[in-house]
């Protein structure tokens, strides 16, 4: 087998690592079986140098083929051998030094010169690129030299490879350029304050460097950047303030206008300020300030969207970096490092949680996260990303879930979207589906994912069931549905609840239902089948004048179209009464067939919306260059229903929790009760204190509890 390994800075190398270590297992056995020849230092160094040079070439963009897995393994093995040879041939120390030297050499010969010759914004761009490359280089070289990390550095209590690599950049590059960088950044910000467009992404990347260089401590950011930033900001705003004061002394109507302008026009400036100052706020646990800022911006129409998405990205990046840093710090076994990272993580965690749980543009973060997963997991979603990238993203998503308080809401949205993916065959990759479920299970427990797993299993069983059905049909040629029929039988408990409407099926389909029903009776008599027509798909042939086109539609759409087999022209009312569906459904259906991309039906009048007075005619002239097209039916917005369902479940959960607590404690004060309730339920959602209060009162009315006669803040359990 040969794996082609791609160097891509955005790729996490975890999968790479596993692949290599698995391959390494084979290698190891081979080595043990053969006799090892001692590698001497010169040879070893030269060999490694070849690999390092190849890496540098790739980073510089020179024409250099990617590393093959054999090359990779050879490099790794060389290091391994050289470290495990018997003295005096154990070269761990030398290799450790070599590792550091590789960076130093590269930086001094290539990186620094390229930075020195550029200025201002170009210099910033170069810096960002170089830093990014450097990180890749660190990652790769650390992999080659990995064996040192395992034993040598712990034995000698040395900094690990990762840290050494990053420190090189800090000591050589950062110390030299940070002054220039800071000035360039401040000048960029000033430009924007004056109303020019600047590259915000660049700014963000540069500021990230400041933070990352700190490697878990904010000193670099604070001392080198923030101080001057804040000074400059203060100076800028005091100038601006004096201007504003002048304007404010104008008559009233001008005042209002200015105020409006101040907020909305200068929102960008303020945003900028907050953008740079946000680290300070986050670090100092200035939750109150952050929420004040949030409130301020919520007053501007749409002022909140940019800031919250910016924050979200920012804090997400920060959070995951920190999580990783905390991981690294912990594994370093350096007590101080860990504490600092831990404290900072805590402060950031709390602020992070707050932002995670603020909604963006009307959607809760739980819903957004579920939608995000859906986009990744469905077909056409992320086909450009490699498997590893997808895995990595899913990993991040699950980690993020820990910060979301409405986990149950996420679960419900996820379940709904999963159902759609599974039933409409929109899932891109079964492996990924299972993988994220495993991750969710690990993080949130089996109960969280049991239904979803049930859904995935159901589909597998359904396939089996279908093959039995097909067998049955071939054995009983007298019962034929007349059409190719595939039925998916779902277990009710696992799937979201679906309303089943009494759709009037076309005659052809009625037969199908009958045939399947008979078959199912032969399998089991103890189950009840409820048909959910809203989830079915049909392939029908539209015999249009130009040519026949196969249409992939939902059962509802098919039923609508088949009506036109009997009559060329139908009114809205006729269609509705024939189908026996609600107005909402009929409007959606007809819209998808007459006002969307593919106009299978011609609507009169030819407006963009459906009204109950329209008439429809079969569009015999319809054609498309494809021979088979899918006509989508946009799903109903499930958001409201999901939230309703989750709210209902929460009420039950709160009730149960209160009763459980009171049953065991018998007598408990109100605040204590609330606290315990919140704790008990915390795994799935953060119960609103008012909601708990309401449930307590309901339970009092239902005679589960009563208030203590002497102290109205204390409750008693009524057996």
């Amino acid at each position: 087998m040969s794996l082609l390994i791609n160097i891509d800075a955005s790729l996490s190398c975890w999968l790479l690592y596993t692949a290599v270590s698995w391959a390494w297992g084979i290698r190891l056995t081979l080595i043990k079986m053969n006799e090892r020849k001692t590698i001497n230092l010169e040879q070893g160094r030269d060999f490694m140098q070849k690999g390092i040079t190849k890496l540098k070439n790739i980073l510089e963009g020179l024409p250099e083929p990617q590393f093959s897995s054999e090359e990779y393994m050879m490099l790794y093995t060389t290091i391994y051998n050289m470290c495990t040879q018997k003295p005096p041939h154990d070269y761990s120390q030398q290799l450790y030094d070599k590792y550091r030297e590789s960076f130093q050499e590269y930086i001094t010969s290539t990186v620094l010169p390229s930075l020195r010759e550029k200025h201002d914004e170009f210099m910033l761009r170069e810096l960002v690129k170089r830093w990014s490359n450097h990180k890749v280089m660190v990652r790769w070289l650390s992999r080659f030299f990995y064996y040192l990390d395992r034993y040598f550095i712990t034995h000698r209590s040395l900094p690990p490879l990762n840290e050494v690599g990053l420190a090189c950049f800090r000591d050589l590059v950062y110390t030299e350029v940070n002054g220039k960088v800071r000035d360039a950044v401040i000048s960029l910000i000033d430009q924007e304050r004056e109303g020019e467009q600047i590259d915000r992404a660049l700014l963000k990347n540069v500021l990230d460097i400041f933070v990352e260089i700190g490697m878990g401590q904010m000193e670099c950011y604070e001392n080198d950047f923030e101080l001057s930033m804040l000074k400059d900001t203060a100076a800028y705003y005091s100038r601006k303030a004096s201007n504003w004061i002048l304007e404010v002394s104008c008559p009233d109507y001008m005042l209002k206008k200015v105020q409006n302008e101040l907020l909305s026009v200068y929102a960008t400036q303020l945003l900028e300020k907050e953008h740079s100052g946000c680290y300070a706020l986050l670090r100092d646990d200035k939750v109150v300030d952050l929420s004040r800022m949030y409130r301020l911006f919520s007053k501007i129409p749409q002022g909140l969207e940019p800031i919250s998405s910016m924050f979200k990205q920012h804090v997400t990046a920060e959070g995951t970096t920190l999580v990783k840093q905390a991981d690294d710090a912990a594994s370093n076994k350096k007590a101080e490092k860990r504490d600092v990272a831990g404290l900072q993580e805590q402060a950031l965690k709390e602020a992070f949680e707050i932002f995670c749980n603020k909604g963006v543009a009307g959607s809760s973060s739980a819903e957004l996260l579920a939608t995000f997963c859906d986009n990744i997991l469905k077909k056409g979603g992320s086909e450009k990303l490699s498997d590893e990238a997808i895995e990595d993203t899913l990993e991040k998503v699950v980690k993020l879930l820990a910060y979301i308080s409405d986990k149950d809401l996420f679960a419900e949205f996820y379940r709904k979207k999963l159902a759609r993916r599974l039933l409409f065959d929109e899932s891109a990759n079964d492996e990924h589906e299972r993988s994220i479920l495993t991750k969710l299970k690990q993080q949130c427990g089996g109960q969280f994912t049991s239904k979803m797993e049930g859904m995935v299993t159901d589909l597998a069983l359904a396939k089996e069931n279908q093959s039995h059905f097909e067998e049955y049909l071939s054995n009983n040629s007298n019962v034929s549905p007349g059409i190719d029929l595939t039925v998916t039988v779902l277990t009710t408990g696992f799937w979201p609840s679906y309303k089943s409407f009494d759709l009037n099926l076309p005659a052809e389909m009625v037969k199908c239902v009958e045939v399947f029903r008979e078959f199912y009776q032969t399998k089991t008599k103890h189950r009840k089948l409820t048909w959910i027509y809203s989830l079915g798909t049909c392939n029908i042939n539209g015999k249009f004048e130009p040519k026949t086109v196969e249409l992939i539609v939902t059962t509802y759409q098919a039923s609508t179209l088949l009506l036109f087999n009997l009559s060329d022209r139908l009114s809205y009312q006729e269609i509705m009464s024939q189908l026996n569906l609600s107005d909402d459904d009929v409007i959606r259906l007809l819209h998808s067939l007459s006002c969307a991309r593919y106009k299978i039906l011609i609507k009169e009048p030819n407006t963009k919306t459906i009204s109950p007075t329209d008439t429809f005619e079969f569009n015999s002239k319809f054609t498309d260059k494809m021979r088979r097209i899918k006509i989508p039916l946009p799903p109903v917005d499930e958001k409201k229903k999901v939230i309703e369902d989750v709210d209902k479940d929460r009420r039950y959960a709160i009730d149960a929790s209160i009763v459980r607590i009171m049953k065991s404690r018998k007598v408990l004060g109100y605040q204590q009760l609330v606290m315990e309730c919140v704790e008990q339920l915390g795994r799935m959602f953060r119960p609103d204190v008012k909601a708990i209060k309401k449930r307590i009162e309901d339970l009092i009315t239902r005679d589960y509890l009563e208030r203590d006669k002497d102290n109205p803040n204390v409750f008693r359990y009524l057996a």
Partner: protein, 230 residues
């Protein structure tokens, strides 16, 4: 106006013919007592319904007009309380006896005279809580009914607390009529409001702490008032 009704038999008196003074006294007082009972009963029957044998809403209306109080007057409610009357709009013989005996009233005139004293008695803090909760229960007319609709609650509040805490009651009634969260009020909320009036400073609500176990409707009420004030 009294309803015409036939006199039912008066209670038989059993007098002892013992000649001792004590006995005389006892018999005299016993006689008096019996006489009182008799009159109480007679009064009862003058208002009660012939077929059911209890005083029904019509009878109560007559009683009220004889007493020269509105039948919506709180004093009637107080009388009911004194009687421990169970069912709104009805007085049984037992209840009637209990109430009037306690009030030392065996005629309409005496009953009327007893009303101010009764009012004082009820308004005593130790009794008032009891009266207040009684008022609520008295309005639970259906079997298993646990709460009262907003409309009736507003009336009851006005009746029972209107004189004591007029401003709070007015505001609260206003709130109840505008809010949509609650369609009924239960006993816990009802009692909570009384406690609220007694404990919380008005109109600033400075000492109100919504982190305590005040009924949620009061939390919402305070929020509503505060937002109105700002």
């Amino acid at each position: 106006m009294r309803r015409g009704s036939s006199k039912k038999g008066s209670a038989n008196s059993t007098t002892s013919t013992n000649s001792s003074a004590m006995d005389l006294f006892r018999s005299a007082s016993g006689k008096a007592a019996t006489k009182e009972l008799e009159r109480i009963d007679q009064l009862f029957y003058s208002y009660s319904n012939e077929s059911s044998g209890i005083i029904d809403p019509e009878g109560i209306e007559c009683l009220c007009s004889d007493l020269e109080v509105e039948h919506t007057d709180v004093r009637i409610l107080m009388v009911a309380w004194k009687m421990h009357a169970e069912k709104q709009g009805y007085f049984t013989l037992e209840e009637w006896r209990k109430g009037l005996k306690a009030l030392h009233a065996d005629t309409i005139v005496k009953l009327k005279k007893a009303l101010p004293e009764l009012e004082n008695e009820v308004r005593r803090p130790s009794n008032y809580v009891d009266f207040y909760s009684y008022a609520f229960r008295y309005c639970l007319t259906e079997e298993k009914q646990k709460s009262i609709d907003i409309e009736s609650i507003c009336e009851l509040l006005e009746l029972v607390l209107g004189s004591q805490f007029p401003q709070q009651v007015d505001l609260f009634i206003q709130y109840l009529k505008t809010q949509t969260d609650y369609k009924v009020i239960n006993m816990d909320q009802w009692m909570g409001f009384y406690r609220f009036c007694n404990e919380i400073s008005f109109p600033d609500f400075n000492n109100y702490d919504e982190d305590l176990a005040w009924p949620l409707i009061l939390d919402n009420f305070v929020d509503w008032v505060k937002s109105k004030q700002s």
